[in-house]
Structures are given as structure tokens and as C-alpha cells.
């Protein structure tokens, strides 16, 4: 399955950047969801669950999504928007907004743990996608 990775996790970008197409998002977890939502409305299909990890959106600042290539022509894309992807990313944004915003952690040890977990769960999805 051809896909690209939409992420704000620099560890994922660093480790997978040479072998995979990365679209890096400068921003927080919600920004990744919003960017993914835009791409999905242009025809991209979500391949992993946006709320993976049981790490609540207000706790981890990192998210990496696997998306199937967007169609090139806008007209063609509009005709083939994947309703399940739209539903899942919409729910993810709602969940994100539901949780009370927390002060982002600046502890480098915790940030590194969040990055590692995010990357490992991304790889778990890639393993299925690469089969």
C-alpha cells in the first residue's frame, strides 16, 4: 500500500525520512488532525486510527498518521472522499477539543518517551501496511 506519513514527531521524521515520504507538521497534535482532515477532504484515505495509543490527546503532543496518497485532480478527489476517514478524523478533532488543554510538558525525558511511543505505534501500523 502506497502511503505517506503526516507527523509532528521529529523522531519519526528523522528515523523514517530517508525511506518514506514525510509531511512534517509544525505544530501540535490538533494541527496534525486538522491537516489530515484537509487532506482527507482532498481524497486522502486514513490508514491508521487517529486516536491510537490510549494516550489522550491532551497528554501527548505527538501524532503520526498514515495516509494513502491523495488524488491529484481536485474534481476526482471530491468524487472519492472516503466517508470512514472523514468520520474518524472528525471524531478525533472532537475528542481533542473535549479534553481540557493542559500545559504542555517541557520535561525532555517525558517528551522523549512520548516520541518513542508515538514512533513505535506508527511502526505498528506500518508493519500492517507494508505486508
Amino acid at each position: 500500500m502506497k502511503y505517506f506519513i503526516l507527523t509532528n514527531n521529529s523522531l519519526a521524521a528523522e528515523e523514517l525520512g530517508k525511506t518514506h515520504e514525510i509531511r512534517f507538521v509544525e505544530g501540535g497534535l490538533r494541527d496534525v488532525f486538522v491537516e489530515a482532515r484537509d487532506l482527507i477532504h482532498q481524497g486522502a484515505v486514513l490508514l491508521n486510527h487517529p486516536l491510537y495509543g490510549s494516550v489522550k490527546p491532551n497528554e501527548t503532543p505527538f501524532r503520526s498518521l498514515l495516509l494513502h496518497r491523495a488524488k491529484s485532480s481536485t474534481e476526482e478527489a471530491c468524487a472519492s472522499v472516503d466517508p470512514e476517514s472523514v468520520r474518524l478524523i472528525g471524531n478525533a478533532v472532537s475528542v481533542c477539543d473535549k479534553f481540557i488543554a493542559k500545559k504542555e510538558t517541557t520535561d525532555p525525558r517525558i517528551l522523549q518517551d512520548f516520541q518513542v511511543v508515538d514512533l513505535s505505534l506508527l511502526k505498528s501500523a506500518m508493519e500492517s501496511a507494508d505486508r
Binding site: Y52, E59, K98, I110, D113, V116, S124, S128
Partner: protein, 426 residues
């Protein structure tokens, strides 16, 4: 399959020269257990402590909770695929140390482990404030990766639990319960008028640090399958995950799965408890489709009339939960969901990240976002270094007076999604 569980009631745990069980007291020499932990060169050191109900003790960060057991008759041994070979377990006789637990603690990742308070308001929320706890705090070797450390602590916990369980060999149990599942045809013939009920358990399988193992196999690689619930009681399913503490299913809860216990209690009376079906909660959407298709198909092929469906975690697993429910109901099999809720601090938000009209029978374990103040306790086993970081805490958690403002999320098994918690609307 017929399994006898012999229950040995443990009334106290004490450190002593000789490790043994005598008159219901578990005597432990930590020096006997240390080599069992340190045989893994990824663990630098370990220390043991004891926490008893009612003591002013807080255990954190908690990783897993395990009930020591030993298999004395029948095939295989406890925790198959880990400390025993992969013989099929679930028949014969197993002795269980009741009233106590082995708790593994220490930092793995700084945000996904839990809290067990042995006294105060927090104690009311965790079933493990009522057990005598032997706590094992491991220290990893320098530079060890988080997932290697998780695996090392997980496996060390099973080895130590098995070592303690061995002390029960030869002891006459205080009480014995018998659990028996029948073959499909046998069951239909014996209970022709009873509804055929199954138990579908969704295992947490999202990836490293979020995995569950069946006979040593990483459950995200399985397609849904049937097992005897008695296999689960013998430790065929073990926890390997660091998800939110309140709705994580520690190994202890798999061993003492309350859904299985309650279904067995009705088996032959109001229902025919046919089997357990295990499925997973992968992050890849096509895996979710495949697994829920398979689970629904199994329910149909087994001609089940109804099932109980349990999950582990929030968010991603909610999608599996709803997919399973929808597809199983579509096969004409009545489905009851057991879950918990993330309904916001005021309890007014939507509880699950997914929903469907087919999910019309739901049992809740409680709202994980509910806020609670935990008092300062005299002793901490483990460390409070990460208390502001764990899921359900915030930068305001540790207050100046030493009290903690947290969501129920931080408390181990507070809103357990197999119904092992104590929350009730009554």
C-alpha cells in the same frame, strides 16, 4: 475442559529467612527472589516491599499486578509461553494465592503507569487496596530502551509470581471452585433450552508498550480465535502494556476475569456459557475490519444467542468496540458492551470516541475524567517523580500541601472495563 481452582487464603505477608507459606502467612526472603529477577541482564537491581490494606502507603508508578498461582495437576504450567512451555492449560488443578498480589512498579515510560493507595479515598477506587501487596521495584541498566525495559519487567513479574506460586504446592486449599466448559455438541445436548452465550474479549494490541500476549504470542498478530475461559484463568493471557491505569487490564484481572466468573456462575442455570473469543485492537484500520469481521463470523458459526463484549483502553479501541458490536448484532447475536467513559470532568461529554445505534446495551465502569483529591500518605513505594505526568494528572497535580489532584484515570483498575472495579451508581 474442567479446571479446579484451589484457593489458599493469604492473611499476611512477612519478610523472613525462609520463603514459605504457613498457616495462611506468606513468608518471603527477598534474597530468594532477587536472582529470579536479575537473571535478566537488562535489570540492574530490584527491591521488594510490602504494602498492606489500611496502611498509609502509595504505590506508584504501577505497571502490572499478578496473582501467584501454581499448576499442580493437568497439562502445562502457569503463564504458558513465558515461564512454562506452551502446553494447553485450563484443565486439571491450579492453586491460587488469594488475598494477595505481586505488584510490579517503577518508571517505564513516564506517563502511563498507575497509582495504588492502600488507604484514604483513593483506596476505595482500586481493588488492589484490598490485597496484601508484595511490590517489586526494578531498576534498568543504563541506556536501556523503554520497550526492552517493559519486556524485562513484564517477564520478571511472571517469573517471580511463578516462584511464589510454587510455595503453595502441596498445601491444602481453603476452598475449591470447579469450572467446566463443554464441547459444542455436548453443551447443546446438555442444555437444549438455555441461551448460548459467549464472551468476546478485546485485547489491547496497538504496538510496543501497548500489547497483550496469548501463550506468548503477540495478540496483534492473531486473527480472532476461540479459547476456553479456563485457559485464561491459568494465565494464557498476560498484560504487556502501559496504557492508562484506570482501564488497563492487568494480568491479575485476566486471571480473575469477572465476566468469566459471572458467566460461569450462570452456566447451566440461566445460560449455556459456550466459550471465550479473543480479538485485538490494532491501530491499522484494515486490521480492525478484518478482526471484527472474523469475530462476528465466529459468533454466527457458534450459533450464539448473545455475547458480552469487553475492551481495554480508550480512543482507538472504541472503534473496534463499535465495529464488533455492530457486526455481531447484524448477525442476530445480542451484544452487551462493558466499557468505561471519558465523559469530561463534568461528565457531560460523549463518553466514547465512537458510537452506533446497535450499541444499545452498555455497562459502564465509570467516568475516568472524574476528579479526586488524594491525601498525602506517609510512605511512597516507587517514586512520585512522575506523578504530574501520568495519564489523568496535570502540572497542578502535586499540590503544596502534598495532596494530589487527579482524575480517576491515574488509579489502577478504577474504571476497569471488565467490571473489576467497585464503582456503582447505587
Amino acid at each position: 475442559m474442567r479446571l479446579e481452582i484451589g484457593k489458599i487464603n493469604i492473611t499476611d505477608i512477612r519478610f523472613a529467612e525462609e520463603s514459605k507459606i504457613e498457616s495462611g502467612v506468606l513468608y518471603v526472603n527477598p534474597e530468594d527472589l532477587k536472582p529470579v529477577v536479575l537473571e535478566d541482564d537488562k535489570i540492574k537491581d530490584v527491591c521488594f516491599d510490602i504494602a498492606k490494606p489500611g496502611e498509609s502507603v502509595r504505590i506508584t508508578p504501577v505497571k502490572d499486578v499478578i496473582e501467584p498461582r501454581v499448576k499442580v495437576e493437568g497439562k502445562g504450567g502457569v503463564f504458558p509461553g513465558w515461564v512454562s512451555k506452551v502446553d494447553t492449560v485450563g484443565s486439571g488443578k491450579t492453586l491460587a494465592l488469594k488475598g494477595m498480589a505481586l505488584v510490579t512498579a517503577g518508571k517505564i515510560v513516564g506517563f502511563q503507569e498507575g497509582v495504588i493507595d492502600m488507604t484514604g479515598p483513593g483506596a476505595a477506587y482500586t481493588p488492589f487496596s484490598k490485597t496484601l501487596n508484595l511490590v517489586m521495584v526494578c531498576e534498568p541498566v543504563e541506556g536501556l530502551k523503554q520497550h526492552d525495559y517493559e519486556a524485562a519487567v513484564r517477564k520478571a513479574g511472571f517469573r517471580v509470581a511463578a516462584k511464589i506460586g510454587e510455595l503453595a504446592r502441596g498445601i491444602e486449599p481453603d476452598d475449591t471452585c470447579v469450572y467446566e466448559t463443554l464441547g459444542i455438541k455436548e453443551g447443546m445436548e446438555k442444555y437444549p433450552d438455555l441461551p448460548r452465550v459467549g464472551y468476546v474479549s478485546m485485547l489491547q494490541t496497538q504496538g510496543l508498550l501497548h500489547d497483550t500476549y496469548v501463550y506468548g504470542v503477540d495478540a496483534k498478530k492473531i486473527i480472532p480465535t476461540i479459547i476456553s475461559p479456563t485457559e485464561t484463568m491459568d494465565g494464557a493471557i498476560v498484560s504487556g502494556n502501559c496504557v492508562s491505569a484506570c482501564d488497563k487490564n492487568p494480568t491479575y484481572i485476566h486471571q480473575n476475569n469477572p465476566v468469566i466468573e459471572d458467566l460461569f456462575a450462570q452456566h447451566g442455570k440461566t445460560i449455556n456459557f459456550v466459550c471465550q473469543i479473543i480479538t485485538n485492537e490494532n491501530v491499522y484500520l484494515a486490521d480492525k475490519e478484518r478482526s471484527s469481521n472474523m469475530t462476528a463470523k465466529l459468533c454466527r458459526m457458534l450459533d450464539l444467542d448473545g455475547i458480552i463484549l469487553t475492551q481495554e483502553g480508550f480512543g482507538n479501541p472504541d472503534t473496534d468496540l463499535i465495529m464488533n458490536c455492530k457486526k455481531i448484532e447484524a448477525e442476530g447475536v445480542k451484544t452487551v458492551i462493558v466499557t468505561d467513559e471519558y465523559a469530561g470532568r463534568d461528565g457531560k461529554s460523549q463518553s466514547l470516541a465512537d458510537a452506533d445505534v446497535a450499541a444499545d446495551a452498555v455497562v459502564t465502569g465509570g467516568n475516568a475524567n472524574e476528579v479526586i483529591i488524594l491525601p498525602k500518605l506517609d510512605k511512597v513505594i516507587g517514586t512520585l517523580d512522575y506523578i504530574n505526568k501520568i495519564a489523568g494528572a496535570s502540572d497542578k497535580t502535586l499540590r503544596e500541601d502534598g495532596t494530589l489532584e487527579v482524575e480517576l484515570q491515574v488509579i489502577t483498575a478504577a474504571t476497569n472495563e471488565m467490571g473489576f472495579g467497585t464503582l456503582s451508581a447505587r
